[in-house]
């Protein structure tokens, strides 16, 4: 699970300094280096490849717009991850919950990719719908922590909240999910 593996994405201090001054060439260098991990991070949150591409563009636009506020001491990757997470969260807030069941995810459910034989397609579909009805900030915490198994500390930094707040959001998400599934007649 390799977004932002430490020590792999190396950029010179010089390119960061130039970027901070608004140099577009330095910005392109950083873009080329980070676009894939930014895209991957956003895709993990929104789970829609087309939206993830648009949000990657939006994220880098926000990054460039905020270039003067970048603090090298706090690191480029955490800063970028926070901006990307905020862009993805904004997108989730703007979506209608039911619209997030894409054709791709429906196809995956019917083919049963990675499926537990004990869990029917109907249960998976109901779970996904129930998840889509959760408040976006709970969904982001749950999808990154539970599904993608990212460390709580990383999720907390990306959301700009404490580790305790992440755990609380995950707990609330799971509790709401259980209640929703129970209402639909599924006893976890």
């Amino acid at each position: 699970m390799g977004s932002w593996p430490s020590g792999v994405l190396v950029h010179s201090a010089d390119s960061l300094d130039k970027f901070r001054l608004g140099d577009v060439d330095a910005f392109e260098e950083l873009f080329r280096l980070h676009q894939r991990v930014v895209y991957g991070w956003i895709l993990r949150i929104v789970r829609n490849p087309t939206a993830a591409e648009d949000l990657t563009v939006e994220t880098f636009w926000r990054i460039y717009k905020a270039h003067a506020r970048f603090e090298a001491a706090r690191g480029f990757e955490p800063w970028v991850r926070r901006i990307a997470t905020r862009a993805a969260l904004d997108w989730l807030r703007a979506q209608r919950p039911e619209s997030e069941l894409t054709e791709e995810t429906m196809a995956r459910q019917t083919t049963g990719l990675g499926a537990d034989p004990g869990v029917t397609a109907e249960i998976r579909s109901k779970t996904e719908r129930a998840f889509a009805r959760l408040p976006p900030k709970l969904r982001v915490a749950a999808v990154l922590s539970v599904v993608e198994e990212r460390p709580h500390k990383e999720v907390a930094e990306a959301l700009g909240i404490s580790v305790t707040a992440v755990k609380l959001r995950v707990f609330r998400a799971l509790r709401l999910l259980r209640k929703d599934l129970e209402r639909q007649g599924i006893k976890p």
């Binding site: 873009f31 991957g40 591409e53 869990v119 259980r178």
Partner: protein, 79 residues
């Protein structure tokens, strides 16, 4: 919610939303789109920033003039 329930919900969630592949990549080069976005910002930004500032300044002056009518001659003197 018991620990067993929590684990069961987590399992259901992972079944419904399998983790994304380790290294997903966008299907197209996104740099041209970023550049287009930057260009449109470069054209739009100065105008919108000054319009906002002008309106704020005008509103502030109007507020001062209404609240302290005696300050109007002073404001006119400095215009």
């Amino acid at each position: 919610m018991s620990a067993h329930d929590e684990e069961r919900i987590k399992t259901l969630l992972r079944q419904a939303l399998p983790p994304v592949d380790a290294e997903p990549a966008p299907e197209r080069d996104l740099w041209p789109a970023v550049l287009r976005r930057l260009d449109s910002q470069a054209v739009a930004q100065p105008r919108s920033r000054w319009v906002w500032f002008d309106w704020a300044l005008a509103a502030g002056l109007a507020l001062v003039a209404v609240s302290f009518p005696a300050s109007i001659p002073l404001l006119l003197y400095y215009l």
